[in-house]
């Protein structure tokens, strides 16, 4: 096995890229995808430490995060479809109404 | 003037640790590598001949002859087709997304071939040997093939293609759920995800899981037909509606890749069903000891019988080439039969018997499963999209869930309470069937209600 720093750097890089995506992209779908990327970066760390400490708890949490991501994607995309049907836009900066 | 030579030598020596690592790697993994190469090399050929067999069967059922021109009885047709596809012009539509268009068929093909890596074609043949997640790996990786389909359909920039892709995705997602739930029943019975453990469990329990979970098997059968886009679920490529669905804009080699991926996928689902429900490489009645020798020799006898049939038919061939070819085929059969018989006669080779016979039975069961696919294809009309979704979501998935429940109860009754296993299985299966009847009744009621207001739009993709 390689030293943990490699994995930590990888997950950190992915986390950063995800953050950049969330902040800079206007398309809501891509923003959602960036969030998925962040969650995955977290998962790498969880699995890594699970391996290092010899405890499956990390993997269990990674599983929960995947389930969470699934729920989030379903809800997020549901909102996107509902919004698109009403407003015909998916650009974050055009979504400026709290109520419609 | 040995200067450059020594330099080169030094170079080699300096990378020698790498070389050593490579050698060590090869030493450890050569069986897997060879088997992997066999898969990659043989699957296209096998798929080609599966197509030929399909065409011949279809012709037989439709009162005609099928391919007869290329080679005797069209036996060289797959090779001719392959050559034609390879030398065809590779057309990429002008407005297509060139990279994805180029890449998508590769995904389909690679997914199908990779998933084959974890399948045991007989106890001796393996690539990824006994990985912890065995059957899950096969299913998961083969399900990646849909990516190739949907991306190819999208990248073609054609309405037919994108509709085919959308249909395909909705269908795959729905039926993979049903198929996965059906598999869980068998996994409950075996208690392991490892392929070898699943087959061993069927050997230990003296029964194929087909008989312990019949409903799960039939659910998986239907779901696997849908997953491989075969009739009557071939909507993504329904030629009478969508021309060729997601493959409409593809031609030549890329089209061939899709095609191969599809047939490789058929082999994959058939292998999964064989492993889980049909006893894998176990022969029929594998626990009846006195059948050991008759059943052990049976494969050789069957192959020899095929050879005899070829000789019998050879006399009726109208053309000399065909006659000669029949003899060649017959001799090949006899050769294989001899290979199968030799271990019985030569004691030191006895160790090869289980491997050879296992491979025979496994491939035999896979062939029967694929034959059922073909049979259904020639017999049944095609479902409509909303009917397909209804079947998946209103019948198959609830049925699979109920069946998991029933199998669990049956296991509890027989293992914990000590009931007779068959009684438990029959009771729970009857329960599942009653539920399925109820579901069908509800479905019919729903269908008739829907048809009376058939003009009401509903989101057929949402299922």
């Amino acid at each position: 096995m390689m030293s943990p720093i490699h994995y930590l750097c990888l997950s950190f890089a992915l986390f950063l890229i995800g953050c950049i995506g969330v902040v800079t992209r206007r398309n809501v779908i891509v923003v959602l995808m960036s969030i998925e990327l962040i969650l995955n970066a977290v998962n790498i760390n969880l699995v890594l430490f699970s391996r290092i400490f010899g405890d499956v708890a990390g993997q269990v949490f990674a599983l929960f995060i995947i389930a969470d991501a699934a729920a989030e994607a379903a809800i997020g995309l549901g909102i996107i479809i509902a919004y698109f049907r009403n407003r015909e836009t998916l650009l974050a900066d055009e979504m400026d109404l709290l109520k419609w | 003037m040995s200067h450059p030579v020594t330099q080169a030598l030094g170079c080699v020596l300096s990378i020698s640790p790498t070389m050593q690592a490579v050698v060590a790697f090869l030493k450890t993994w050569w069986v897997e590598l060879v088997c992997g190469v066999v898969i990659v090399a043989a699957v296209p050929l096998v798929a080609g001949y599966v197509v030929l067999v399909e065409r011949k069967l279809m012709a037989d059922m439709q009162a005609r002859l099928g391919p007869m021109r290329v080679g005797p009885h069209g036996l060289l047709q797959p090779i001719a087709d392959a050559v034609k596809l390879l030398i065809k012009e590779d057309i990429i539509p002008r407005d297509a997304d060139a990279f994805i268009f180029w890449f998508a068929p590769v995904i389909s093909m690679v997914a199908a071939l990779t998933s084959m890596g974890a399948i045991y074609f007989g106890p001796a043949f393996r690539v990824a040997q006994d990985i912890n997640i065995g059957i899950l790996f096969v299913i998961g990786v083969s399900s990646l093939g849909f990516l190739g389909i949907i991306l190819g359909g999208w990248a073609s920039n054609s309405h037919y293609s994108i509709m085919g892709a959308l249909r395909s995705t909705a269908q795959l997602v729905s039926y993979e759920t049903a198929g996965g739930l059906a598999i869980i029943s068998a996994l409950l019975l075996s208690g392991s995800l490892k392929i070898r453990a699943i087959v061993d469990a069927q050997s230990d329990q003296h029964v194929w899981f087909l008989f312990l979970a019949p409903v799960a098997f039939f659910t998986y059968l239907v779901a696997s037909i849908a997953e491989t886009n075969r009739a009557p679920f071939d909507l993504p490529e329904a030629e009478s509606e969508l021309v060729a669905g997601y493959m409409t804009e593809y031609s030549g080699f890329r089209w061939a890749l899709y095609f191969l991926g599809e047939y490789a996928n058929m082999i994959v689902v058939a292998s999964v069903a064989t492993t889980l429900f049909l006893g894998g490489w176990l022969r029929p009645f594998s626990n009846v000891r006195w059948l050991d020798i008759p059943m052990g020799v049976l494969p050789a006898l069957l192959i020899a019988a095929l050879g005899v049939y070829c000789i019998y038919r050879a006399g009726k061939q109208p053309v000399k080439v065909q006659l000669g070819f029949m003899w060649v085929v017959a001799l090949c059969c006899f050769g294989v039969a001899v290979i199968y018989l030799v271990p019985w006669l030569v004691a030191p080779l006895r160790f090869a018997i289980p491997g050879l016979n296992g491979a025979f039975w496994f491939l035999f069961k896979v062939a029967v499963y694929i034959y059922v696919f073909m049979w259904l294809r020639f017999t049944l009309p095609r479902y409509r999209f909303d009917q397909l979704m209804h079947l998946g979501w209103y019948i198959l998935i609830p049925l699979a869930i109920v069946n998991i429940f029933s199998v669990g109860i049956a296991m509890f009754l027989s293992l914990e309470l000590g009931w007779n296993r068959w009684l438990a299985v029959m009771l729970t299966t009857a329960f599942t069937l009653a539920v399925s009847l109820l579901l069908v009744r509800l479905h019919d009621k729903h269908a008739s209600a829907a048809s009376s207001t058939s003009a009401v739009p509903s989101d057929s993709y949402a299922g």
Binding site: - | M58, A63, S240, E241, P381, A455, D459
Partner: protein
């Protein structure tokens, strides 16, 4: 048509996801538009919001050609309209001209005409059944249907030497006597056919997928049928008992017993059942007819040069696909002044939009199949 397009405009942007409607061009090169029909489908997802038929890819100006040919010369042209039922086309044309000439056709000729026309009806329905089943995804019936059709075509070939565009009849009667063994051939076919038709029934009628694909698909009420002018099996499947063979008997139909099958719902399944029963009834007519073919002449009192008195005539027959009418105006010369043809396929095709609006794409091919159109006849 104009009306339907206006409707589409009002429905635009009304799709489920609020996305634009997808316009799918079906045809003219498409596996299941039965020739060169082009249908522009406006789709919301899989659901059809509107259609527009574009026809004319096979237009040859048959009616105009008629004005430059003598009456006899024009007869082979009508075979090219509905080329899967050439004999019926010929019958309609010959009878129309005979009516214009006020010639009596000998009874023997009329009986043989009836037999051949009914065989042609079976052949036409077999082509329909095979292609319709293929459109819905059943591959196998096509080959069985064509196997049986082959037998009929062999009878035609023996009778007049041609298989597809037969030009079997002449104005005034028949050119050829029935060949030796004609009755036997027809009888053998009819005997065989009973068993064959049971095969199709076994393959399709009770099949739940088939029922699901056809029942309540493309429903056309009796009122709609009459308003649109749809005729033939389509009209009868909607419950209207209207068959020219009974209503205005021509040829020798008044001599034979047969039923007119009708449906109740006017859906694709009913049309399927009606056509299947029509094949059985045609078989029944053939069996009755060959039992007793009257002896006598086969050609009426028609000269070499046909020169009808000035006047006009309309004659229609029950072709396999519906009412086939010929309106002929004579100006007293050897060439018709005007021939107007009422092709059943063309009129029936107008029901397409009504039948598939709100249904799914897959139903489009089922409906095109059940309409049983032949583009040669639609475009003329």
């Amino acid at each position: 048509m104009a009306d339907s397009i206006q409707n589409d405009a009002s429905q635009q942007n009304n799709t489920l996801l609020g996305a634009d409607e997808l316009v799918l061009n079906m045809g003219p090169q498409h596996p299941s538009t039965h020739g060169v029909l082009r249908v522009k489908l406006k789709l919301d997802g899989e659901r059809v919001r509107g259609t527009e038929c574009v026809i004319g890819y096979l237009h040859r100006g048959v009616e105009k050609i008629a004005e430059n040919r003598t009456y006899q010369q024009f007869a082979p042209y009508v075979d090219r309209m509905d080329y899967v039922a050439a004999v019926s086309n010929g019958l309609g044309y010959c009878e129309a001209v005979e009516k214009l000439l006020q010639v009596e056709v000998p009874i023997r000729a009329r009986v043989i005409r009836t037999i051949l026309t009914e065989l042609q009806r079976i052949a036409s329905h077999l082509v329909w059944l095979g292609t319709h089943a293929l459109d819905i995804g059943a591959l196998t019936p096509l080959f069985y249907c064509f196997r049986e059709r082959e037998e009929i075509l062999k009878i035609f070939e023996k009778y007049c030497g041609a298989r597809l565009t037969t030009h079997a009849f002449r104005i005034g009667g028949l050119q050829y006597e029935s060949y030796d063994g004609f009755e036997k051939d027809v009888e053998r076919f009819c005997k065989d056919f009973e068993r064959r038709i049971q095969d199709y029934v076994d393959l399709l009628t009770g099949n739940s997928i088939w029922i699901g694909r056809t029942r309540n698909v493309g429903v056309l009420s009796a009122e709609d049928c009459i308003a649109l002018g749809a005729t033939g099996p389509i009209l009868r499947a909607s419950g209207v008992k209207w068959d020219l063979r009974k209503a205005q008997p021509y040829a020798a139909y008044d001599r034979y017993e047969f039923e007119i099958p009708i449906g109740t719902n006017g859906d694709t399944y009913d049309r399927y059942m009606v056509r299947m029963e029509e094949m059985r009834q045609s078989r029944r007519i053939c069996l009755q007819a060959i039992e007793n073919i009257p002896e006598g002449a086969i050609f009426g009192k028609v000269g070499k040069v046909i020169k009808p008195a000035p006047g006009e005539v309309y004659h229609s027959i029950e072709a396999p696909k519906g009412i086939l009418g010929y309106y002929i105006v004579s100006d007293g010369t050897t060439q018709p002044y005007r021939v107007r043809i009422r092709p059943p396929s063309f009129v029936n095709l107008q029901a397409l939009d009504k039948m598939i609006r709100g249904h799914l794409v897959a139903d489009v091919v089922a409906v095109i199949g059940t309409l049983d159109i032949v583009l040669g006849e639609v475009d003329r």
